[in-house]
C-alpha cells in the first residue's frame, strides 16, 4: 500500500480546525452545556428522563443550552450523573439526579447562578473555587488513559471525539507506515488486555509476514465474563477510540476489512458503534480513500449469539463463519490462518483502544506507566460487596488492597472482607493475606488467579466460598462447548461433588477426588475455558479449605448461605408483639403467631426465600440464620386452635 501522508495530514488538519469550532461552541468560555451520562447503567437509573428534563427546561435561559447524551465516567454508584458547564464556573459534576433536580439545576444554577453544592460531586478541571473530581479519594490512585474520554462526549458526533484528541494516533500511523507502527507498539510494551497478556506487536508482525494479501483485523468484544463490564462501557462511551485502534492495527498489517464481534447482550453498545461508524464514514475516517491518503478500510459489527467460549479466538472465528463455536488446535495461529483461512489479528477492545494514545503520545508515555513486565494501565470493573462500585483505571502494579479499600471505599454495612474474585470464571478467589498482591499479569498468575478481562468482585463474610466455587463451575459447565471430554464430563462431575458438599452429603475423601478431577480437567482440555475452569475451585480449596471441611464434617455453612445446611429463626426476645411484617411477606405462610403473640417459623414449610429477613423492621432485626440446622433452638409450637392462622 503506497499511501499519501501529506494529503492525509492536510485533510486531518481541516477536521481538527472544524473540531475546534465544535469545542468552542460546547465547552468554550461562553458555553452552556449539560452532559448526561447515558450508558446502560445510567439509563437504568433514569438518565434519559433526566436528559429530557434538561432539554425541556432549556427555554428558561437566554443562551443556547446544549444537552448531550454522553457515555459513562465510571462512577456507577452515583448514577444518574451530569456534567454542567456554564460561564464563570469549571465543568461541574452532579450526582444522583432526577428530572426535578435537573429542572432545578437549570433554574437555580444556570439562570440564577446558585451552584446547588449539596448535589455537587466535583469539578472536572482544576480551579480556584471548588474541589475537583481528582480530590476524591479514588482519583488519587487512578490514571485515566482508556477512560479519559469516556463520558466526556456524544459518541454519535465524531467532531467531539476529534476535539478531545481522537484520531490523532491514526494520522501518526498513516505517516509512520507498518514497520514503524509495529516498532512503536513493541517499544510501548502493550500486552493483550483480554486476559492472556500476549504481546500485541507479535501478532501484528506474524500477520504482516504472511504471503496472503487478504487479511482481517477483529476486535474481540465478546465480554462473556460474568461480573465484567469494561468493554461494554468503552464501546458505549468511547467507540471512536476502538475504531481508531482498528484503523491503526489495519495499517500495521495492511488489512482493509475489520470486524467488531460484540455480545448480543449489549444492545446499546451495538447501537453506539453503528452511530460512531456512520459518523466516522461521513468524516472520511472510514471507507475508501481515508483522509485522502489512498488507505481503504471499513468495519462491520458482528453480533454474537451468547457463548462464553467464543471469547477464545478460534471459536470466535468459527462462530463468524456460521459454525458451532468450538476452539481448534493451534498452531496454525489465527495470525497465519484465521477468518475464512486468511491471516487475522484479533485484539481485545482495551488493547485496541490503547493504540491511539500510544501512537499520538509516544511509546514511552505508555511504557513509563506500570511495572517492568506489565505496562500501561489496567481497567477494572469493581462490583459486589463494595461501597463505590464502578469502573476504575489504575497503573499496572497497583495492589488489590488499594483497589478495594482506597478506591472502592471498602465493604459496606461494617461487614468483614473475605475475598476478592478476580478474572471471572477463569480466575480465582484471593483472601485477605493476598491483598498486597500487585496487579499485573505475572503476579496474579503466581497467586493462582489471573488478570482475566478485569472483572473484580468483592466478597464479604456473608458469602460462602463453596457456594461461590459452585456458582463458577455451574457457569463453565454450562458453557463448555463439549469438544474435550475432560471439560465436558469432568466439570460435570466436579459440579456434582460440590453439590453434594453444599447439601451436606459429602465425605472428606470427596475433597481429594475434587482436587484430582480439577487437575485432570486442567491438563486434559484444549482451550483456556477448560484449562482454567477449575481455578475457582482450586483457589477456594487452597485458601478456604476450612470452609469446605465445615460443610462436610459439621454439616455447617459458616456464612449460612447453603440452603440445605442453614435455617431461619425468629429470636423471641427481639420479636415485637403485634408486628405482623414478616407474616405477610412469607410466600408459603410458614410464619405463625405463638400464644405469647410473637412470631415463629414452621421449618417444615419454610422455603428459605429470605423474604422475612427483609420484611422484619430494622429496629427489631429479629430474624437470624442458623447453621448447622441441628443447632436450631426449639420454637414455641403453633397453637392448636389457631392452625392455619
Amino acid at each position: 500500500m503506497d499511501l499519501n501522508p501529506i494529503a492525509a495530514r492536510s485533510a486531518f488538519e481541516k477536521l481538527v480546525a472544524n473540531a475546534a469550532v465544535v469545542r468552542e461552541k460546547l465547552w468554550g468560555d461562553h458555553a452552556y452545556t449539560v452532559m448526561v451520562g447515558c450508558a446502560t447503567c445510567g439509563r437504568s437509573a433514569g438518565a434519559l428522563a433526566v436528559a429530557e428534563s434538561f432539554r425541556r427546561a432549556s427555554g428558561k435561559i437566554d443562551a443556547v443550552l446544549n444537552v448531550l447524551e454522553v457515555g459513562c465516567m465510571g462512577h456507577c454508584y452515583a448514577e444518574p450523573m451530569a456534567v454542567i458547564k456554564r460561564p464563570d464556573y469549571p465543568p461541574m459534576v452532579y450526582h444522583h439526579l432526577n428530572p426535578i433536580m435537573a429542572k432545578n439545576l437549570v433554574e437555580r444554577f444556570l439562570v440564577e447562578g446558585d451552584p446547588l453544592l449539596e448535589f455537587f460531586l466535583g469539578a472536572t478541571e482544576n480551579n480556584d473555587m471548588l474541589p475537583t473530581m481528582m480530590d476524591l479519594p479514588r482519583y488519587g490512585k487512578e490514571v485515566r488513559k482508556l477512560l479519559k474520554k469516556c463520558g466526556m462526549y456524544d459518541p454519535a458526533d465524531v467532531m467531539q471525539s476529534i476535539a478531545l484528541g481522537g484520531y490523532a494516533g491514526l494520522i501518526e500511523a498513516i505517516e509512520m507506515g507498518p514497520v514503524r507502527i509495529i516498532q512503536v507498539v513493541k517499544e510501548s510494551g502493550l500486552r493483550g488486555m483480554g486476559g492472556a497478556g500476549f504481546e500485541a506487536w507479535r501478532k501484528f508482525e506474524t500477520c504482516r509476514a504472511q504471503a496472503e494479501e487478504e487479511r482481517y483485523i477483529i476486535c474481540n468484544a465478546d465480554e462473556g465474563d460474568p461480573g465484567a463490564f469494561m468493554d461494554r462501557t468503552l464501546l458505549e462511551s468511547d467507540p471512536h477510540a476502538v475504531i481508531e485502534g482498528l484503523l491503526i492495527g489495519a495499517l500495521a498489517i495492511s488489512s482493509n476489512r475489520g470486524l467488531i464481534y460484540v455480545r448480543a447482550e449489549y444492545p446499546l453498545a451495538v447501537e453506539m458503534l453503528h452511530r460512531a461508524m456512520d459518523a466516522a464514514r461521513k468524516a472520511g475516517l472510514l471507507g475508501e480513500n481515508i483522509l485522502g491518503s489512498g488507505f481503504r478500510f471499513d468495519v462491520e459489527v458482528f453480533e454474537g449469539a451468547g457463548a462464553f467460549v467464543c471469547g477464545e479466538e478460534t471459536a470466535l472465528i468459527a462462530s463468524i463463519e456460521g459454525r458451532r463455536g468450538e476452539p481448534r488446535i493451534r498452531p496454525p495461529f489465527t495470525a497465519q490462518h484465521g477468518l475464512y483461512g486468511k491471516p487475522t489479528v484479533l485484539n481485545n477492545v482495551k488493547s485496541l483502544a490503547s493504540l491511539g494514545s500510544i501512537l499520538s503520545e509516544g511509546a514511552d508515555v505508555f511504557a513509563n506507566i506500570g511495572t517492568p513486565k506489565s505496562k500501561g494501565t489496567g481497567l477494572f470493573a469493581l462490583a459486589g460487596k463494595i461501597v463505590n462500585p464502578g469502573l476504575v483505571e489504575v497503573p499496572m502494579g497497583t495492589t488489590l488492597r488499594e483497589l478495594v479499600f482506597a478506591i472502592g471505599g471498602g465493604i459496606p454495612a461494617g461487614k468483614k472482607f473475605k475475598a476478592v474474585q478476580i478474572g471471572g470464571p477463569s480466575g480465582g478467589c484471593l483472601p485477605e493475606e493476598y491483598l498486597d498482591t500487585s496487579i499485573d499479569f505475572d503476579e496474579l498468575k503466581r497467586a493462582g488467579a489471573m488478570m482475566g478481562s478485569g472483572g473484580l468482585v468483592v466478597l464479604d463474610e456473608d458469602n460462602c466460598m463453596v457456594d461461590t466455587a459452585k456458582f463458577f463451575l455451574e457457569f463453565t459447565q454450562e458453557e463448555s462447548c463439549g469438544k474435550c471430554t475432560f471439560c465436558r464430563i469432568g466439570t460435570r462431575h466436579m459440579l456434582d461433588l460440590l453439590e453434594k458438599i453444599t447439601q451436606g452429603n459429602a465425605g472428606i475423601s470427596d475433597l481429594d477426588r475434587l482436587k484430582e478431577l480439577a487437575e485432570d480437567v486442567q491438563r486434559g482440555s484444549l482451550c483456556n475455558l477448560g484449562k482454567t475452569a477449575p481455578n475457582p475451585v482450586l483457589t477456594t480449596l487452597r485458601f478456604f479449605e476450612a470452609e469446605y471441611e465445615a460443610h462436610i464434617l459439621e454439616k455447617r455453612c459458616p456464612s449460612k448461605v447453603c440452603n440445605a445446611l442453614s435455617a431461619y429463626f425468629i429470636l423471641p426476645e427481639k420479636c415485637a408483639r403485634g408486628c405482623d411484617a414478616c407474616v405477610g411477606s412469607c410466600p408459603p405462610e410458614a410464619i405463625y403467631t405463638t400464644r405469647k403473640r410473637i412470631k415463629a417459623i414452621d421449618q417444615s414449610l419454610c422455603i428459605k426465600c429470605d423474604s422475612c429477613v427483609g420484611a422484619c423492621p430494622k429496629e427489631y432485626n429479629a430474624v437470624i440464620k442458623i447453621s448447622p440446622v441441628d443447632k436450631l433452638p426449639p420454637a414455641e409450637p403453633r397453637p392448636e386452635d389457631r392452625k392455619g392462622v
Binding site: 437509573a45 447482550e265 449489549y266 457463548a307 459486589g384 471471572g424 461461590t468 463458577f472 457457569f475 427483609g614
Partner: protein, 169 residues
C-alpha cells in the same frame, strides 16, 4: 400453509434479497429472532435450503448459542441476570421468587403466554446487582418484594386496559 408461515417465508426471502454479500448464518438467525421473537421451524428450514445446509446443521448451530429460543417469548419476557455480582447479592432468591410467582420454571412460558422466564449469564450492569430485565428495561437492586411490585404493576395495567375496553364497548 398458515398465514404466519407465509409471513416467515416472505421475510426470509426479503432478507436474502437485501444483503449483497455471502450471508452469515448467525446474523441471519439473530435477525429472524429479532423479527419473530423466536426461531420458527419454517424459517430454519427455509434458511437451511437457501444456504445449502441440512436442517440438522442449522439446528446444531442454533442450539449451541444461548441467545436462540425455539418457542415464542411471553408478552413480558423476564430475564434474570445470574452474573457473579448478581449471584453474591442473592440473585438466586430473585429467580426463585419469579418462579414461585409465575408458577413456571426458568426456560418456560406461562400458560396464558403473558410471561416467559429465562436466566442470562451477565448483562454487564454489575453495579446495579441483582438485576432483572423486563423486556428491554434493566431493573437494578432487585428483591423478592420488588418482583411482587412489578407483577402488581402489570396486573393494574391489564385491569386498566380491560376497563378501557369495556368503556369502548
Amino acid at each position: 400453509m398458515t398465514e404466519i408461515q407465509e409471513e416467515i417465508i416472505a421475510w426470509v426471502e426479503g432478507y436474502f434479497d437485501s444483503i449483497n454479500e455471502k450471508p452469515r448464518l448467525i446474523s441471519v438467525l439473530l435477525a429472524l429472532q429479532k423479527k419473530f421473537g423466536y426461531l420458527p421451524t419454517t424459517g430454519l428450514r427455509d434458511i437451511a435450503h437457501r444456504m445449502n445446509l441440512t436442517p440438522a446443521n442449522i439446528y446444531g448451530v442454533a442450539t449451541f448459542y444461548n441467545q436462540f429460543r425455539f418457542q415464542p417469548p411471553g408478552r413480558y419476557p423476564i430475564k434474570v441476570c445470574m452474573g457473579t455480582a448478581c449471584h453474591i447479592k442473592q440473585g438466586t432468591k430473585v429467580l426463585e421468587h419469579w418462579e414461585r410467582c409465575l408458577e413456571i420454571e426458568e426456560g418456560q412460558v406461562t400458560a396464558d403466554g403473558e410471561y416467559s422466564l429465562d436466566r442470562v449469564a451477565c448483562v454487564g450492569c454489575c453495579t446495579l446487582a441483582p438485576v432483572t430485565l423486563v423486556g428491554d428495561e434493566v431493573i437494578g437492586g432487585m428483591a423478592p418484594t420488588k418482583v411482587d411490585g412489578i407483577l402488581l404493576g402489570h396486573k393494574l395495567e391489564r385491569q386498566a386496559r380491560e376497563s378501557e375496553k369495556q368503556k369502548d364497548e
